[in-house]
Every structure is written in C-alpha cells, then in structure tokens.
Symmetry: C2
C-alpha cells in the first residue's frame, strides 16, 4: 500500500482548497492507494480524525473541479504549534505510530508560516528516526509574506477582491457634491502587500485610492491630515486605503492612543480604519466613514483570480512530484520567469528557510512620501489577479462543495 | 423639439443605472430629440449642470449595455428636499423657466422615498401651472421599503450580495474546532428586508445564519443570549445576521446604552453589530467578532442579480411609456403575477401614495420567536436574486463606464 495524508492549517483563503485539489489529483495519478485528509489539521490527525479523500473522488467525478472553487478549508484548520521534536518527542511518536498503522508514505501540509513550522518539525523527526516518510509543505496566505516564493497562493484572489471592491466603492463615494472621506481598512498586520493591491482599482477616470498606507513605513498622522486636506481642495471624495497594521515611528499601532483620551476613549478596541475615521473627522470636519473589508477578503471565492486558483493547484501538484522524487522537508514555491508575458515555474526550498521568516514590501515598492505605491509594485501585482473562475451558481448563489464533516454537534 | 430630462437621487444601488439605461433607450426609441441628464440630481438641474445623454449613445454603441452594469449613479446624486410648491413656488418657477428654455416635455426622477417627494411636488406644480410637462418617478432602493410595488430595483442585487457573502463567511467560520460567534450587520435602519435575505445563504449543509434579527420585532438581549448559548451547545460556530436598525421594546437602538457604562463606554459610536459583539462576548465568553457588510452591499455590481438589473431597466422603460400616454405624477411599479414560475408585470401608482409611506416586513414573514424568517419570506425573496450579469472584466477587474463628470476639481 502507498498512502498519504494531507492537512490544511492557518487562516482560510479562496485558493487553499485548490492546492488540496492539486495534491489529491496528482497523488491519485502517481498511484497512491489512499489519500487521507486530516480533519482540523494536526489536531485532528492526533485524535485520528481523518477522512478518505480517495472515496470522494470516486463518488463524484466533479469533486476536484468543485473543490478548486470552494472557499476556506475543506478539511478544516487548527492553530496548534507543535513542540520541539528534540525535547518533546512524545507527540511525534504518537503521530509516527498512527502513520505506520495507515501505511503513510507522505505527509502534505498546506498552510502559512506556522504550518511550515509543523512541516519542518515533522520532517526533522522522521529523518532523525530513519523513517522513509516524506514531509512536504505547500504554501498559502493572503498576506503574501512567505520568503523564497515570488508570491503565495490565496494572495491573488484576495488582491482581486480588494481592488474590485475598492473600485466599486469609488463609484459609490463619488456621487454626492459634498466633501467626504472614506477610509478602507485592509488585512495585513505586518506586511502591506494586500493593502497595496488597492492601487489596482485605479482607472483612467478613477484615481481612488488617493492615499495608500502600508505598515512597512512609519505612519505620520500629521502628514496624513495634510495630504488629505490638500486632496480635498482638488476634489470632493477622497478614498484612503490603510493596512490594519499601520504603526507610528515608535512602533505603536494607530488607535486610541493617538487621539486625546477624553475625546477618543471609545476607540479602545477599534482598528486602524476606525481610528483614522475619528482622527481625520476631528481634524478636517468633513463627512467621513470607515469600511473594514474584514473576512470576505480571504473567502470571496466568487471573485477569485483564475491565475491564483491555477497556481495554487499547481503548487499542490508539484508537492506530490517532490515526494515522488524522494524529497522531504521542502516547500513548493513559485518563481517568476517573466513579467510580460507573465510566466512562472514551480520550484522548492527547504522548509526550514521559510518557517520563521517574513517577506515585507521592499522600500522601492512604496513612494518616498510613504502614502502610495510605486509603478514597480503595480507591475508586480498585475499578473496575479488576471482571469476569472467559472463559478457554478445554483438558485442565484455560488454553489460550493458541502462540508458537513466540519459541523460539530458536540453536546 | 421633444426633449426630456432625467435625474437620479438618494443612495446608490447596483441597479439604478440600469433604470437610467431603460429611460434613455426607450426615450430615444419613442422619438425624444434630446435626453438631458441632470448632474447631481435636482441640485445640478437648479444650477443648470446637465449633460446630453443623446450624445453618449451616439458616441458609444455599447453605452446602454455598459451603463446597465455600472454601479452607483452615473449622473450623481443629491439629498435636497424641495420646499412645498404652494408656499414657496420660487424654486419651481426657476426650474420651469429652465425646462422651457430646453424644450423639456418630460421629467424623470429615479430614486427612493425622498426622490418620489420631489417627483410629487414637481408634478403638482406643473399641473397647477397648466403646463403640459409630465413628471414620472422610477423607484429604487436596496431597502425594498417602497409601498405599492412588489419589490424595488436595487434590492435583488443587494440581497444576492448579502446572501453570497454570508454563505462564503459561513465556510470561513466553520474551519476551527472551537466555539465562536460571528455577528454580521446588514443595512436597513427601518425595515428588515435586506437582513432577511441572509436566510438565502443556507444550503443542505450550511445552516448559517443560525439567528436573524430584523427591526420589525423588538429585540431582546436576554433571548438573544439564551438562543446563542443553546446553539453553541450543538455546534462550534454560530453566525448571527442582524439589521443595523434593531431596537428594544422601548424603541431604543441596541448600542452602548444596553451595556454597562464602565465596561462599554467605548461603544458610543458603534453600530448594532459591534454592540452585540461586546454584549454576547461578555455574556458567553467565547471567541467573537463582528462584520459590517457596509457600502459594498449597495454597489457590488460584480454580484448583481440579473433579474434585478432587467427589472430596473424595465421600470425605466415603462416610465417613458407612461409619459407617452400623457400621464404625470405616477411612479412605475412591479406587480408579481406568480411565484412559480416567477412572472411580473409593470404597472404604476400615483406618486403621492408612495412618497411618504414605508413598507415593513409583515409579521408572518418573521417567526414567532423573532429570531428567524419564515418560509413565506424565503419564497418571496428567492426569485429576486436569480441570474448573473455577464460583467466585462479588463485586466482582472470589473470594467465600468467612466464617470469623469462627477470628479470635482474645484479650487
């Protein structure tokens, strides 16, 4: 028997199920007898909660295609960080026995930074044990902050959602002949890639967002007020895209602390968008509102990027090929071969190189004033949002794979 | 010369430009020489800021089709309420002179409640003056709260957006094996139609939203806590859809006042979703977050309902036909002929009947406990979100008509 097990972990994206589809499709092609899926990541595997994905593909010939377009995580997720295998091997011994009982040859972990830590530790443990079980990582994150890959699957779809939604909001905010500010808060606590994607909303006649603030550059409230004020002299509506993670020169998040206690005490628990709404509203005295794009950014499959979905699938598939070559402890990556025409190839990197690093936005992707991105950023981003997924609709709504195994009916 | 003028006013929807397209298309068919568009509603007309839409259609053969799919308001909007024409006729005299200078035969006003007030007053003035200028109203509002029409254009697209987004969020919230609550705040201060549309998100395997609260029924915090608690015994994730306008038995909005001052003083300026997030989080001690769907609800053309866009167009077109019959002071309406198969016909009603009424959700569309909608509501809503609009994408993003005339470069 040649079996494998696959898990998903970390936060959801619109593309992580496509990577799972890529693993399943390729694994069945190269002759795995059973492809098991761990329910709720490594937590589920530890409690032997798995499903047999081989059954799913034999039951439904459209399973792979539907899975590619279903948001969030078909297998569920978890947030467990495994201990150091050197000092605490017990949990690994448990996993090892279980894997042997299932005749597991390969473990695939699809996820972000933390999930690559799991892949790294498992690979280390099996190697040290002299076990032939291979461990392969497949990346995902809407944050686009993993090292050694041109970009991460999930990011392109999130970027397409952010840019489309901001373009539509730009139309919405332009209709009244009065001065107004709209602050849009975008996900990305430590890196500004997704907020930068708001720049793609622009057209010949839409200049929104007029200001873009990323966490990579210290945020100055004074400059922001001055820049917004100058814009309001030229036009009625100003749209500002701001990362949830903007910080001032001292490294403090922009929130209540930046406003006077007596006036903004109610901002204690609010984010950067809400904080800016109050600060700019107070300073400039015009109509103002803030919009937090929130979780639709990471699960809006109805606006997925076809490029992203196909690449996510390709990375899953490439992971299976690495295992076939007998490799272990690697994460699949994307290398950009050329911008125009956009061409990529799949490659890999030792997962230990990736596990604890973060790829921030380079300084020359942000303008000098720190309130916009440069043409370099736009050129980098553009190919990632290309193409639309041919989504099935049923009764007027997107039709996704059912995931009844994630509905817990504990008592 | 046979000329007409058309304005849009009130808040944006994904369908109001389709009504404008219906007016333009039909008006050009029935022989209007010039179709003028008032920029920024009646405010623009008063300052003689108009454009010639006849030129637009002759310049671009795709203008009508593109306009149907462009969000918000091509002509811009305003929020001016005209004075009583009996006591303050001066402003009407100004409009009358301007209309005569343009050889205007008919005035079309596309909008919601307040806009119908403008239509009513203008119709009254011209009639009293003995002028043959006809005044016709075309409805729109995402709130679906206009009287004497089965539903309003703009609502179906907003409903489709709300249901699709909540279905995607349901997938997102089910992935972790931990207890969690997600509160989703939906627009609709006085009527719960749009919040009710969240029920359409449900499938055989998705029961979200598990609770739905509309403003038509007094909101009880105690019941909401009890119902949520009971649900958390059966399942991990609970998703609650709540109208921004929910009020308690005394008619007070649910916000800071319902929580203890010392603990929730920071909620002063927040909405129902944020308030519930804090109240339920405090009471039940589980992971909780709130999501405000915000303005994308009314401008998400990328998820427009084809039924809605076609009906909005039909209502604009029907308005032109009413004027051709010599009618004035009427608003076009939709009558539902049958549910299954869904069939409608266009009709009309004196605009004075509509101008100051509100259509709330009937009590039997809401369950007895007041925490869900009934099958009657679902049957009513279902046809309105059917069909997808074939949107053009350019470089990965929805391609809309440019509206450079709304970018003010004052100074």
């Amino acid at each position: 028997m040649k079996n494998c097990i696959v898990i998903q972990s970390g936060g959801p994206t619109a593309a992580i199920n496509s990577s799972l589809a890529g693993v399943i499709k390729r694994a069945s092609e190269v002759g795995y007898d059973h492809i098991y899926g761990g329910i709720n990541g490594i937590v589920g595997v530890l409690s032997q909660k798995v499903c047999d994905l081989t059954e799913k593909i034999s039951e439904d010939p459209d399973f792979i295609e539907k899975l590619k377009k279903t948001p969030a995580m078909y297998l569920g997720s978890c947030r467990l960080r495994l201990p150091d295998p050197k000092s605490e091997p017990a949990i690994y011994d448990t996993l090892y026995s279980y894997f042997r009982s299932l005749d597991i040859d390969t473990f695939f972990g699809i996820g972000g930074n933390d999930s690559m830590d799991t892949v790294m530790k498992l690979a280390y443990y099996f190697k040290r044990k002299g076990s032939p079980i291979r461990v392969i990582g497949v990346p995902k994150t809407i944050d686009n902050d993993l090292m050694f890959t041109d970009h991460t699957p999930g990011f392109g779809s999130a970027a397409k959602y952010v840019a489309s939604t901001i373009r539509e909001m730009a139309y919405d905010t332009m209709i009244y002949p009065v001065k107004s500010i709209t602050v849009v808060e975008v996900m990305g606590r430590d890196s500004g890639w997704l907020t930068a994607a708001s720049a793609l909303a622009r057209t010949e006649s839409v200049s929104a967002p007029q200001l873009i603030y990323l966490p990579e550059v210290p945020f100055s409230i004074e400059n922001c007020i001055a820049d917004t004020k100058a814009l309001l002299k030229q036009r009625n509506s100003v749209l500002i895209a701001v990362s949830e993670g903007i910080r001032d020169r001292k490294g403090d998040y922009i929130s209540a602390s930046d406003a006077k206690e007596d006036k903004f005490g109610h901002l204690m628990l609010s984010g950067a968008g809400k904080a800016l709404e109050h600060i700019l509203g107070q300073a400039l005295g015009v109509k103002i509102r803030s919009v937090e794009l929130n979780i639709p950014q990471r699960c809006a499959s109805h606006l997925a990027s076809k490029t992203d979905i196909e690449e996510a699938f390709g990375l899953g598939s490439a992971g299976v090929d690495l295992a076939e070559e007998g490799k272990t402890g690697l994460m699949t990556t994307i290398e950009r071969v050329s911008d125009d025409p956009y061409q990529i190839s799949y490659s890999s990197v030792p997962v230990s190189d990736v596990a604890n690093g973060v790829k921030n936005v380079p300084r020359d992707f942000i303008n000098e004033r720190g309130n916009d991105v440069t043409e370099k950023m736009v050129e980098y981003l553009k190919p990632l949002i290309q193409g639309e997924v041919d989504l099935s609709f049923n009764d007027g709504l997107p039709d996704f794979l059912p995931i009844p195994h994630l509905v817990d009916t504990t008592d």
